[in-house]
Amino acid sequence: MPDDVLALFRTRLGLEEVPPEGPFVPPETLPDIVAALKEMGFLLFLYCAATHWPATENRPEAFTVAYGLRRPGPGSSTARLRVRIPADGSIPTLSGLFAGADWQEREQYDLVGIHFEGHPDLRRLMLPEDWEGHPLRKDYAIDTHHFPWR
C-alpha cells in the first residue's frame, strides 16, 4: 500500500503497524475512511468480500468483510481494509459513495448473509428471492437439497 494510505490509517486508527492485507476498521468509521480514500484518488471500486467464520471453542461466530479500492492511472496502487463484525452485526453501506458497491453488497448479502445498513435495495442478487439460507456460510452444505427448481 502507498505511503499516504498508510499515513491515513495510522492517524485515523491510531495504529503502529498496518498489515499488508489492510487494517481492521471499526464499522462506524468505515464510510468516513472510505470517503477520505476516495478524496485521495482511490476512485475505482475493486471488491467487497465477506467471509463467515463459524464458532469454535475459543471464539464466537463472526464475519469479516474486506474492501479494496484502486487509484487508476500510471503507478496504480490499491488500498485494502477489513471490517470485523459479530454474527448478528451489520455494517454501513458504501453504495452512496461507490456505485459499484451496490451490487457487490447485494451479492454478499445474498451469498453470505451480511446486512448492509442503509442500502437502498438489499435484495438477493444471484439466487431466487425465496431461497433459504446463505450458501457461502460454512454451515451450509455444498450439496444442499435444492428441489423444486424456481
Binding site: E21, K38, E39, M40, G41, L43, L44, F45, L46, Y47, A49, T51, A66, G68, R70, P72, G73, P74, G75, S76, S77, T78, R80, L97, F98, A99, G100, D102, W103, Q104, E107, L111, P120, D121, R124, L125, M126, L127, P128, P135, L136, Y140, I142
Partner: protein, 416 residues
C-alpha cells in the same frame, strides 16, 4: 457520410481534474439517473409500459434479464436481473485444493478462459511466494494476448450481429470474425489440446510447453489476423449505418465508470488512462512497452475504437515476445503428484490482472490447510452490467441492445 461527432474530432479535448486524475470535461459530471426511481412517481409523456427482455434473448449475450420501463419508446428505468447462471463456483473453490481449482475458473469467463486461470494462479503464487521461471512468464503473456485477440473478435462479431441488418445482413462481420477466431483457437489447441477450456496454467508455471514450429505458426497467424483487421475496419469505421447506431449512444461518465468499478475498454473509452498491464505489470508485461489506446468520447463508438486498437496492440506484443521466448523450465515447482501437493501458508491476498473486460481479481484467504477458506472472484462483467441502470435511461430499446453489446459483459462471469 455522417458528420463527425464533435467528440471524435482529433483535437485535444478540454480536461478537468478530479482527485488527481485528468478526465475529459465534456462527459465528466453528467447528470446521473436514479436507479431506484419509483415508477409510480414518474409522469410519462407518452404511454408507459414495462417490457421484459430475457433471460433467453439473442442479444443479451447469455442469460441476462432486463426489465425496461418505457415512456413511448424511451426507457426511463431499467432493472437488470442476473443470477440465471449462478453455479456457485466460489463455494466449489472453497472445497478444492490449489491444483484442483484451475479448471473451474475457466468456466467463469468462458470467452477468455486463460485470463481467469491467470488471476487465480497468480493469487496462489502470491500466497505461496513462488515466482514462475522467465519462460513461463513470457509464454503466459503471449497466451493472454492471443486470448485477448480471440475475445475481442467474438465481441466484435456479436456486437455487429446485435445491430441487426445494419451491416450487410447483420451476420457478415460475425462470420468473418469467427473465421479469424478459429485461427487463434487453432494455435491454443496446438498448445493445450483443447479448443476452449484450456487448463493451461498451474501454480508456479505452465502446464504445456510449446510444440515444435509453434512460433512460426503464431507469426503467420498474426500477419493474417492483422490483414483481416483492416477488412473489418473498412466494413465498420466509416460505415454510415454503423456510425449512426453507435456515435453518441450510451455516453459513459468516466467518474461513474470508475466508481461503478468498470474496467477495460469501457473505462479507456471514457478517457481514463488506466491499464494494469502498464500500471502494475504482471507476468512479462514489464519487458514490453504496452501502449494503451484511450478515447475521450465515452460512447459505443469510442469503445469500439478502443477494442480495435487493443487488438492491434495485442498483435504487436505477441510478435515482440514470440520471437524471443527464453529457454528454461516452464514450472517453478515439481509437477504435482497429489491433488493436495501444494501446501498453502496462512494469509490473505488480492491479485488483479487486466482481462479483456477489465480488472479481473482474485481475493483469497487461507488458514494454512490445503484448501482455502474463501475465494472471491472480482468480476469486471458484473460491474459492467451494473452500469445498465444508468446508461439505459433516455435510450430507445434498439439503442439499449447496442449499449449492452458495447459493454461486453459475459454472464458466466457476472453470475459465477
Amino acid at each position: 457520410m455522417v458528420d463527425a461527432h464533435p467528440s471524435h474530432e482529433p483535437v485535444a479535448p478540454a480536461l478537468v481534474e478530479v482527485s488527481g486524475l485528468s478526465l475529459p470535461a465534456a462527459i465528466t459530471h453528467l447528470p446521473r439517473p436514479d436507479p431506484y426511481l419509483n415508477v409510480e412517481d414518474y409522469e410519462p409523456e407518452a404511454d408507459a409500459m414495462a417490457l421484459n427482455m430475457g433471460p433467453q434473448h439473442p442479444s443479451t449475450h447469455g442469460v441476462l434479464r432486463l426489465k425496461l420501463f418505457l415512456d413511448g419508446e424511451i426507457c426511463f428505468k431499467a432493472v437488470p436481473y442476473v443470477g440465471y447462471l449462478h453455479r456457485g463456483v466460489e463455494k466449489l473453490l472453497e472445497n478444492r485444493t490449489a491444483i484442483q481449482s484451475v479448471p473451474y475458473v475457466d468456466k467463469n469467463d468462458y470467452v477468455s478462459p486463460l485470463t481467469g486461470e491467470l488471476a487465480l494462479v497468480m493469487a496462489y503464487e502470491a500466497l505461496l511466494d513462488v515466482e514462475p521461471p522467465p519462460r513461463a512468464q513470457v509464454l503466459r503473456t503471449i497466451l493472454m494476448e492471443l486470448q485477448r485477440i480471440a475475445s475481442h473478435h467474438l465481441w466484435l462479431g456479436t456486437f455487429c450481429l446485435d445491430m441487426g441488418g445494419a451491416l450487410g445482413g447483420g451476420s457478415s462481420v460475425f462470420l468473418y470474425n469467427f473465421r479469424e477466431r478459429e485461427l487463434i483457437l487453432d494455435l491454443l489447441e496446438a498448445l493445450t489440446g483443447q479448443r476452449m477450456h484450456y487448463n493451461a496454467l498451474m501454480v508456479g508455471g505452465n502446464r504445456h510447453d510449446v510444440p515444435p514450429g509453434w512460433e512460426e505458426k503464431v507469426l503467420a497467424t498474426m500477419d493474417r489476423v492483422e490483414d483481416r483487421l483492416a477488412e473489418y475496419e473498412a466494413m465498420t469505421v466509416d460505415n454510415h449505418i454503423f456510425r449512426s447506431r453507435t456515435v453518441g449512444v450510451g455516453v459513459l461518465d468516466p467518474l461513474l465508470a470508475l466508481e461503478a468499478g468498470a474496467g477495460g475498454a469501457n473505462l479507456r473509452a471514457s478517457g481514463v488512462d488506466h491499464d494494469l498491464r502498464r500500471d502494475a505489470p504482471y507476468a512479462a508485461y514489464g519487458q514490453v512497452d504496452v501502449r494503451i489506446p484511450v478515447e475521450t468520447a465515452g460512447d459505443c463508438y469510442a469503445r469500439f475504437l478502443v477494442r480495435i486498437a487493443e487488438m492491434r496492440e495485442a498483435i504487436r506484443i505477441v510478435r515482440l515476445l514470440v520471437s524471443g521466448i527464453p529457454e528454461g523450465p516452464i514450472g517453478a515447482l515439481k509437477p504435482p503428484r497429489h491433488v493436495n501437493a501444494v501446501k498453502l501458508p496462512p494469509g490473505e491476498v488480492y491479485v488483479g490482472i487486466e482481462s479483456p473486460r477489465g480488472e479481473l481479481g482474485t481475493y483469497l484467504i487461507s488458514d494454512g490447510s490445503p484448501i482455502p477458506v474463501r475465494v472471491k472472484i472480482r468480476p469486471p462483467s458484473l460491474h459492467a452490467v451494473s452500469l445498465l441502470p444508468y446508461l439505459c435511461v433516455g435510450a430507445t430499446v434498439s439503442d439499449i441492445v447496442v449499449i449492452l453489446g458495447s459493454l461486453d459483459p459475459i454472464l458466466g462471469e457476472v453470475d459465477r
